[in-house]
C-alpha cells in the first residue's frame, strides 16, 4: 500500500451548495403553482406528482377517493356535484355576502353551513371506509362488522377545501425538495380584505405551511422582475434600464388586473392599477360556444353551452368536456403559429367532435376580451398621466398572457421596445410562473435576512408586521433630475439621473464619457436641471424646433403623427465645472442624492488616476 492510504475513513459524500428549503406558492382562484429555489439560486416552478406546473384549484370526492388538482377538474364532467372549485375567493366571506351566481353552478353548489351560522359550505357525498373489525378479548365471535363502505355526506367550508388543497401543494414541494419546507410566501390578490387575508393565512397554517408573508400579486411580479436574472438573455439593443416603468397585465380567470409599476433600481411601487371583470373565462366561453356551434353544424345535434340549460344534463356535461379540451387548444395556439385542434370523444349523444381553429379565427373569437384589456390599459395610462411611450416594459402574468393575440393587441396601444412573458415553458418571462417564482425569491430573501442584532429584529418586524404599512408609504420625486452638458449648439446633451416617481431618499451614480476641448482650458462643465418631460406629437415634415429634445424615436416618418419625447428645462439647481486630467476624453461620475425632504446633493468627479477633487453642490429642501 502507498503510505498515506487509509482504509478506515468512510468516503465522504459530495454535497452541493444547498439553498434554504423555501417555497413560493401562487394560490390563484383557478390555478396554483409552486416554485422553489434551484441549485443555482434561481427560482423555478416545479411540477406536482401529476407533472402539472399549473395545478387546477379543484378538489373532487369520488367514492373513497379524493382527487386534487387537474385530476379533480376532470371529474367536473361526471361528478360535478362532488367537485369543489373556486373556493379561494370565498375564503373569509360570510354566506350572506356571497353574490348569487348568474348561471347554474358547474361544480358543487355553495350552501349555508348546516351548523355554523352564516358560513358558506359545500356538501359532498363520500363513501366512508368500513371500520376495522373490533377486537374482543372474549373468545366469543364478535358481531360481524359491516364490510362495505357506507355512503355519507361531508360538509366542507371553503377554508377546509383550501387547507386540503394547500396541503397537497406542500406535499409536492417537499417531495421535490426532499426536506421539510422552512419558509413559504403565498400570493394574495390586492383586493382581498384583511379578514380574507387572515382566513387565507389560517388555512395555510392548518395545512402546515410555514407562511412568512402574504405577498400581493403586484409585489410578486416586482420580485421576479427586479431580480438579477430578469435581464438575462435580453437581446442587445433593447433598452431595459434599472429605472423603468413597467406595465403588468395580469389576466386571471374571472378578472384582469392592469398595474403600472415604477421600478427604480429594484425599489418599486404601484403608480396606478385597475381591474376589469374580464378574463380567461370570457375567452373560454366564447371559444366553447364557437366549437359547440361547429359541432351542431357538423352533426345536426343541438348543443347549447355557456351557459348550458339547467334542464339538460347532456349539455352540461358537453360543456364540461369542452372546457377541459380547450385548455389543450389554447396551449397549442400559444406555442405554435399554426392551427390548433380540439377533440372530444362522445361530446353529446355519443358523437365525437374534432375541430380546429387557426390563429386568426381564435383572435377574432377572443377579440372582445383583448379589446377590453387594451382599452383598460389605455384608460389606466391616461388616468395616471403617463404616455404609452414612457412605458419601458410590458409583463404578462397568467396563462392567457401567452396568447400571442393579446400581446399584439396591447402593443397596438402601448409602443414599447420590450415585452416579456409571451414564452411559455419555463423561460424567464413565462407568464404562468412569474408569481410563484417571485414568491420563492421573496421567501428566500426573507429567510436570508440576518437576525442577530436588535436592528435586524426591528427590520424583521417592519417587513412582516403591521408597522410596515406606515414605513412603506414613501415620498417620491415628481420630476426627473438630470445633468445637462452644454454644447456649441443651442441646448446641450441631457443625461437623466434621477427619474420622476423615484422613492425618496435616493442616490444615483451615472458615469459618462465627455470629450475635452482641443485647445484652451481642459474642463468639463455641467448644469443640474430639474426637467419636465412631455410628449410632442408631431405631424410629418415639421422640423424639431424645441431647444432640447431627445429623439429616441427610430420610426420611419409616415403620414401619421409621430411621438417624440420632449424635455424642457424647468429649474436650474446648480452648475459645476471640474478641471479634467485626460488627454482627449474624461470619464466623469455624477452622483445625485435626493434626501427625504427633497434636498439635493450633487457630486461630480473625474474617474481615473490623478483626478482632482470632486466638486459639490447642495440645494436645500423646498
Amino acid at each position: 500500500m502507498s503510505k498515506t492510504a487509509t482504509g478506515t475513513s468512510t468516503p465522504s459524500a459530495i454535497e452541493f451548495n444547498s439553498f434554504a428549503p423555501v417555497v413560493g406558492i401562487n394560490f390563484g382562484n383557478s390555478y396554483a403553482s409552486i416554485a422553489v429555489l434551484g441549485k443555482d439560486g434561481n427560482a423555478e416552478c416545479i411540477a406536482n406528482e401529476d407533472g402539472e406546473r399549473q395545478i387546477a384549484c379543484a378538489i373532487s370526492f369520488h367514492g373513497e377517493e379524493t382527487y386534487i388538482g387537474n385530476q379533480a377538474k376532470a371529474q367536473l364532467v361526471k361528478n360535478s356535484a362532488n367537485t369543489i372549485t373556486n373556493f379561494r375567493n370565498l375564503l373569509g366571506l360570510s354566506y350572506s355576502s356571497i353574490p348569487p351566481l348568474s348561471s347554474p353552478p358547474t361544480s358543487a353548489p355553495i350552501i349555508q353551513h348546516p351548523t355554523q351560522p352564516d358560513v358558506p359550505a359545500y356538501r359532498v357525498s363520500v363513501l366512508e371506509p368500513a371500520p376495522a373489525p373490533l377486537k374482543s378479548n372474549v373468545n366469543t365471535p364478535a358481531a360481524t362488522p359491516r364490510s362495505e363502505p357506507v355512503q355519507t355526506t361531508r360538509v366542507l367550508t371553503p377554508a377546509d377545501a383550501a387547507t386540503i388543497f394547500l396541503k397537497s401543494l406542500l406535499t409536492s414541494a417537499e417531495a421535490f425538495l426532499g426536506k421539510k419546507v422552512e419558509a413559504a410566501v403565498l400570493t394574495v390578490p390586492s383586493w382581498m380584505s384583511p379578514a380574507q387575508r387572515a382566513a387565507l393565512a389560517s388555512a395555510a397554517k392548518d395545512a402546515g405551511i410555514p407562511v412568512t408573508q402574504l405577498l400581493e400579486e403586484a409585489a410578486a411580479v416586482a420580485s421576479t422582475t427586479s431580480h438579477t436574472t430578469w435581464t438575462d438573455g435580453v437581446e442587445e439593443g433593447t433598452e431595459i434600464g434599472a429605472d423603468r416603468s413597467q406595465l403588468v397585465v395580469d389576466v386571471g380567470a374571472t378578472s384582469s388586473t392592469i398595474s403600472l409599476l415604477s421600478v427604480r433600481q429594484g425599489l418599486s411601487y404601484v403608480i396606478a392599477s385597475s381591474t376589469i371583470p374580464q378574463g380567461a373565462n370570457a375567452i373560454d366561453d366564447k371559444l366553447i360556444k364557437h366549437f359547440a356551434a361547429d359541432f351542431t353544424k357538423k352533426t345536426k345535434i343541438p348543443l347549447q353551452v355557456a351557459p348550458a340549460p339547467a334542464s339538460s344534463v347532456a349539455d352540461q356535461r358537453a360543456e364540461a368536456r369542452l372546457r377541459l379540451a380547450i385548455e389543450h387548444t389554447k396551449r397549442t395556439l400559444s406555442a405554435s403559429p399554426g392551427a390548433a385542434t380540439c377533440s372530444v370523444e362522445s361530446l353529446k349523444d355519443g358523437f365525437d367532435y374534432t375541430g380546429s381553429i387557426n390563429r386568426m379565427r381564435f383572435d377574432m373569437v377572443a377579440a372582445p376580451v383583448y379589446t377590453a384589456i387594451a382599452s383598460a390599459v389605455v384608460e389606466l395610462l391616461a388616468s395616471a398621466g403617463v404616455d404609452s411611450k414612457e412605458v419601458g416594459e410590458i409583463v404578462y402574468v397568467g396563462g392567457t398572457g401567452s396568447l400571442p393575440g393579446l400581446d399584439e393587441r396591447v402593443q397596438g396601444e402601448v409602443v414599447t421596445p420590450f415585452s416579456r412573458g409571451i414564452v411559455q415553458g419555463g423561460g424567464i418571462g413565462d407568464p404562468t410562473t412569474i408569481l410563484a417564482r417571485g414568491s420563492a425569491i421573496q421567501a428566500a430573501m426573507l429567510a436570508g435576512l440576518p437576525s442577530g442584532t436588535a436592528e435586524d429584529k426591528e427590520l424583521h418586524d417592519v417587513i412582516l408586521g403591521e408597522k410596515g404599512e406606515q414605513v412603506n408609504k414613501v415620498k417620491a420625486t415628481t420630476r426627473t433630475i438630470g445633468v445637462l452638458f452644454p454644447t456649441r449648439e443651442l441646448g446641450g446633451v441631457f443625461v437623466p439621473v434621477v427619474q420622476k416617481e423615484t422613492a425618496l431618499p435616493t442616490r444615483r451614480v451615472v458615469q459618462v464619457e465627455v470629450a475635452l476641448p482641443a485647445e484652451g482650458e481642459k474642463r468639463v462643465c455641467l448644469e443640474v436641471w430639474e426637467v419636465k418631460e412631455g410628449i410632442r406629437i408631431e405631424k410629418i415634415k415639421a422640423e424639431p424646433t424645441t431647444p432640447i429634445d431627445e429623439d429616441e424615436d427610430e420610426e420611419e416618418e409616415e403620414e401619421e403623427e409621430v411621438k417624440h419625447k420632449v424635455i424642457s428645462k424647468e429649474i436650474l439647481l446648480g452648475a459645476l465645472q471640474i478641471a479634467a486630467k485626460g488627454a482627449k476624453k474624461a470619464v466623469v461620475q455624477v452622483q445625485v442624492v435626493v434626501g427625504i425632504e427633497g434636498e439635493v446633493d450633487v457630486e461630480v468627479k473625474e474617474v481615473g488616476e490623478g483626478a482632482g477633487e470632486p466638486q459639490r453642490v447642495h440645494v436645500p429642501a423646498p
Binding site: 425599489l267 418599486s268 412603506n472 417620491a476 420630476r479
Partner: protein
Amino acid sequence: MAAIQTVNVAIPAVPSSYTTPSAPSTSRLSPPHPSGHRTLLPVGPAYVNHLRLSLHHAHNFSSLDKHLEAERERLAAINAVANPEVDDLGVGSEDEDEEVLSLDPKEWKKHDYYKVLGLSHLRHRATPEQIKWANRKKVLKHHPDKKAASAAPPSDSAFLAGVNLNTNDDAFFKCIAKAYEVLSNPEKRRQFDSVDPTFIDMEEDLPSEKEVKSKNFDFFKTFTHVFDLYSRFSKAQPVPGLGHIDSTKEEVEGFYDFWYNFDSWRSFEWLDKEVNEGSDSRDDKRYTEKKNKTERARRKKEDIAKVRGLVDLALSADPRIKRIKQQEKEAREAKKKGVSKTGPVKKSKAEEEAEKKKLEEEARAKEEAEAAARAEAKKAKAAAANAAKKARRQQRAAEEGA
C-alpha cells in the same frame, strides 16, 4: 456604493465661450409627492436597504454603505467557516495540457494516471478520498454527454450538416475511467506506484560514487532527498529521517539499521509482458508467465541491490560516521590518558578544521576570480571582433554607395 450606471452617449466638448451660469439661490426642487402618496412593494433587497436607510441610518447613504460593507464581511467570514472553500480535500484544479487531453485510451498502460486525474501534485500521497473527488470532478467536466451538446465541430459540407462529427470525444473520458479504475484499486495502485514514471525519472539521477567522492558534495542535501524518495516504498511507516550533522550516534545507527533491513512493497507486475492475445496456446501462456515471473524477480533483486548500494554509498560518505568514530577513538584515548587532556586536543582539532576551511575558501575565491577574468577577456575579444566586422561592413556599404 450605489450601482454605477454607464451612459453610452457621445458628449461633445464644452465650447470655449461657455461660462458656467450660477443657479439662483432660491432654486429648489419642486416639492416631491407627499408621504403616503406611494406605497412601496415590500420585495427585493433594494427594499430591505431602503428600510435600513430609513430605520437605522437616518437617510444617510454613507452610513448605510458602511453597514452593508460590514455585513458583507461578516457573511463572508461566516461562509468561510461554514464551508471552507467547498472542501475539495486539496485536490485543486490542474491545468489540462493538450498532451493529456489527446491521450489514446488504447495505450492506457503508458498513461500517467495521476496526471489524467489532475493529481500530479499529490501523486502517491493522494488519499483514496482525494482520488474519488478528483475522479468525480473530471467525470463531471469531461462526460461525453456534456461534450456532444457543447462542442460539436461545425461542418462546412452540406451533407454532413447536423451529423455529429465529434465521434472520438469520449477518448479522454475513457482515459479518466481507466485511471480511476487503477488508482481506486489498492493492489493495482501499488503496482502502478511501484513503477510511477516520475519516480523512475527521478531514479535516473541518483548520486554516483564519483559524485559522492567529489569535493563540494553536499551529503545531507542529496541523500535526504534520495532517502525521502525511497521511503515511500517502506512497509513500515514512518521512516526515520537522515537527520543532520549533529545527530546522535543512536539516531545515525538507527537510520542505517532501518535502511539495511529495508522492507519494500515495491514490485514490478506492472511491467509484465502481456500474454499474446491471439493465441489460445496454454504453453505460450505459461511460457510468458514464467518469463514475467523471472523478470519480476530479477527487477526486485535489482531494486533491493540498488537501495542497498545507496545505503552503502551513504554510509561511506557520511561525515557523522567519521565523527562518531573519531569521538569513540578520543573517548577511548581519553579513558586511557585521563580526563584532563581532552580539552586542548579538541580545541586544536577545531582550530585545525577552521584553518583548513579558510584555505579551502581562499582557493575557491581565487579560482572564481580567475574564471571571471577569463570570461571577461573572452567577452572583450568577441566584442572587438564584432566591431571590426561592423566597420568592415560599413566600409563596404559606403564603397558600394559611392
